[in-house]
């Protein structure tokens, strides 16, 4: 009875805030934001700010200022305008699943979380597009399109949690981008709030829009050119047939060699994923997907399309695998088994914690012909630094995802992790590779950009960015190394680094 009385008392007393922030340096800014978009959409307390001061990467250098959760384009624009009035930068954020620190604030910017703008606005079957808000979760979008026999093709491993806005910002890839192309190929038009709070539409639904392809320039700009408030994404018809093959090997080299051989044969599977033994072990501990724990490496190959073509391609892939030393080839018997295999693959990064508590994930791309040699170097480098390396990656694209697993609580570990990471990047670049396949540059690879691009290249990139955001108010300090960016603006000055107390 006391419970009931108490519940009643509490309900009647609802509405009064428990605590009001005091002596907050952001007080005036937060007050303006609250006045503009409603106090329930602004949080300036330590707990809220602490949690949006990082993403899924290991980077956390700045602290978030007030956190805004706008629910409309107009509110996003209002936040951008008010931040500018107060001389503060703005960092947009989706689900915070990014791995390169792209959403981790530097300085003390206003953080805009777009998670509540998560509506499917319209489905336009005639034009083959759907308009979605940026906070729409990637997998949820495909679920919502399923009744139309359609899906959204790019499928990052974090697709069950990551948002379309974040996908646009990083030009995300995913296993099925081998055949279908990455995000940029699936975003035809964008509604964007620019740094002066104006709202523009980039690209349109016609096949060949007039003028420069500003949409193309925007996709992958990591929140530095504007904030996506709506996106028209391409609808991809569900394939008539799908076959998923699990191919096991006794050695990593044969596994890697098969990848090149499949492509050389003229087959472009929907996906070719490679997992090494340690990774399989970590995944099986969680997903019990049926990956063979005793194989040195496995390939997950998926072919899709019309049933006849799929059968032929699957047989051919199996032949090529056997010719390259595969010890077993198994086809998923049904949709359930197929779903389990993909669930395992897509939970690989998180599953690393089954081995060690922390990980640092790289994202370099190397020519397929050099896969074997770079992989060997990755293992060698990790051994030398006394770290555990796991490999799980989009082999078809040559997009490596070497994971360094470690325990950050052991003193001196982070230094070894960073040194090993640097060597892995050098090794990838040395064979003609690229810094990032799909995770973006963010903070993580910013200072490696000079290894890959000349001063002239970087200055041009900086000018492109300035064309969109002349005052460097949007996500400053990312992607471009400081010598080529306006990162020294006031908004990036080291803020009081302590959030608590």
């Amino acid at each position: 009875m006391a419970t009931l009385l108490g519940a009643a008392a509490r309900r009647l007393g609802r509405g009064a805030d428990r605590a009001a922030p005091t002596a907050d340096p952001d007080a005036a800014l937060a007050a303006d934001l609250r006045a503009a978009i409603g106090s329930e959409r602004v949080r300036a307390d330590a707990a809220a700010r602490y949690l949006v001061s990082r993403d899924a990467s290991i980077y956390s250098e700045g602290t978030a200022g007030p956190l805004c959760l706008p629910t409309s384009t107009e509110q996003v624009a209002a936040c951008v305008r008010i931040a500018a009035d107060h001389g503060r930068a703005v960092v947009p954020r989706g689900a915070g699943t990014g791995l390169a620190g792209g959403a981790a604030p530097l300085g003390r910017p206003v953080v805009l979380s777009l998670t509540r703008m998560n509506e499917l606005l319209s489905v336009d079957l005639d034009n083959g597009v759907a308009w979605v808000q940026p906070g729409m979760v990637n997998l949820e979008l495909s679920r919502r399109l399923a009744p139309y026999g359609m899906h959204y093709a790019p499928d990052p491993s974090s697709q069950q949690a990551c948002t379309i806005g974040g996908n646009v910002a990083t030009n995300s890839g995913g296993p099925h981008c081998l055949a279908y192309g990455v995000t940029s190929a699936h975003v035809v038009s964008l509604e964007v709030v620019l740094s002066d709070a104006s709202v523009v539409t980039l690209g349109d639904l016609t096949a060949e829009p007039a003028g420069y392809d500003l949409r193309g320039a925007f996709v992958g700009s990591e929140g530095m050119c504007g904030i996506t408030t709506a996106a028209a994404v391409r609808l991809t018809p569900d394939p008539a047939a799908v076959r998923t093959l699990l191919i096991a090997y006794d050695d990593v080299s044969s596994c890697a060699a098969t990848v090149g051989a499949i492509i050389a044969d003229g087959i472009v599977p929907a996906a070719i994923e490679m997992l090494d033994q340690r990774c399989v072990g970590a995944i099986e501990d969680f997903a019990r997907a049926g990956y063979p724990r005793d194989a040195a490496a496995v390939l997950l190959v998926e072919v899709d399309g019309p049933p006849g073509g799929v059968a032929v391609a699957a047989d051919r892939v199996a032949e090529i695998a056997a010719a390259n030393g595969a010890v077993s080839v198994r086809a998923a018997a049904d949709d359930d088994e197929r779903a389990r295999l993909w669930k395992g693959r897509k939970s690989a990064f998180g599953a690393v914690a089954n081995i060690l508590p922390d990980y640092y994930l790289h994202d370099t791309v190397v020519p397929r012909s050099r896969l074997v040699e770079v992989l060997e170097q990755v293992y060698e480098i990790a051994d030398r630094y006394d770290l555990t390396a796991l490999n799980v990656f989009h082999a078809g694209d040559g997009n490596l995802h070497p994971i360094l697993a470690f325990d950050a609580r052991v003193p001196g570990t982070m230094e070894r992790v960073h040194a090993a990471g640097r060597e892995i990047i050098e090794a990838s670049l040395a064979v003609g590779g690229a810094l990032s396949g799909e995770h973006g540059i963010g903070v993580e690879k910013r200072d490696y950009m000079e290894r890959m691009f000349s001063d002239a290249d970087l200055d041009q990139q900086s000018r492109l960015r300035a064309a969109f955001d002349p005052h460097c108010r949007l996500n400053p300090g990312k992607v471009l190394p400081s010598a080529h960016s306006c990162a020294d603006i006031g908004s990036l000055r080291a803020a009081d680094g302590k959030i608590w107390g």
């Binding site: 009931l4 309900r11 428990r18 707990a47 949690a161 997903a287 089954n354 325990d407 608590w500």
Partner: protein, 391 residues
Amino acid sequence: MRLGLDDDELTSCVACGLCLPHCPTFVITGRDTESPRGRIALMRAVQNEGAPITAEVLRSMETCVQCLGCETACPSGVPFGHLMETTRAALAAEGRITPWWQRLGLRLLRHRRLLLAGSTLLALAGRLGLVPARRLGLPARLPLRRGRHRASGSDVWLFTGCVMDAWQRHTHLAVQRVLEATGVGVAPTAGAAPCCGALHAHAGLATDAGAIARQVIAALSVDGRPVLVDSAGCGAAMKHYGRLLGTAEAREFSARVLDVHEWLADRLDALLANRPAAPLALTVAVQDPCHLRHSQRSHEAVPTVLGPFVRELVSLDDDGLCCGAGGAYSMLEPELATAIRSRKTAAVERSGASVVASANPGCSLHLAAAGLDVRHPLELVAQALDSDGDS
């Protein structure tokens, strides 16, 4: 402040974010403070970085439904439920959560006669229009009379619990009817073990939860017979007595606890021998209680047992997301609980079912309060057994 959290458990979260879409409060609010990843980060900040326990940190912990949807989604195997229970225990010990009136209410659950009498009084007051039941999140009509428990043998215990026995005894009687159809004698626990302690553990009252667990173990350990539970929440709590008390006796007891559907799924032939000529002419949606799906992970037994007795079973397309009941959560956090529930009711509508089968009393009360026709799966089975083919 030390929260007393295990450092290995705390560091097992790599902050990948795959839990986010499986967290009912994050799905509603979109805020990291109301997400599993955020809650763990705040636990870390408090325990390792000396962060103060602000009002917002408390809200973050209090708004958790403890549905454990994040646990099944977590590739890193973070034991979130244990982290949250430990955190709440530390906060409750400091008097930061679970105020006196909640503690008083929870204490009442252990006093069966008082609870039953109070419930009857409340039912009476309700009939007289003296209790704003809807506003308090109570069932519209509490029972004035309850059927009598009677033991039919001593092959299995049927755990009857506290609030469920006061408000939904008809469910226990139906469950007993179904169990007896397989040829066993059933002993309802009734006054012998008045409460399982789940709500106490949820509220951070670890000492009370431990005392209750010891009381239940002592009362139900006269022999090694199975302890069958028809409430998913109670079953989950009792299966965790081993971890809660850390004794061999508790572990042995927990191993004897089974959700009643689990037990029946292994004796389906005996049950089906009594099957009527025709199943109930109903389209039934199975709602997976979180404590069956994410904690006990035995939810698949429900459709196995119920399927043969109804015309059509449909599953919900919401990926097993919580309904927002969460033990006392629906009373303590009514706004969030209602918002979470509206997603579930929308999923039920999409499914086209006319009846929802729920194996947990909290879920069933919470969903019924939204106007759904909710029954315990075994109430439907009992109805089918008694229908003699003319449903």
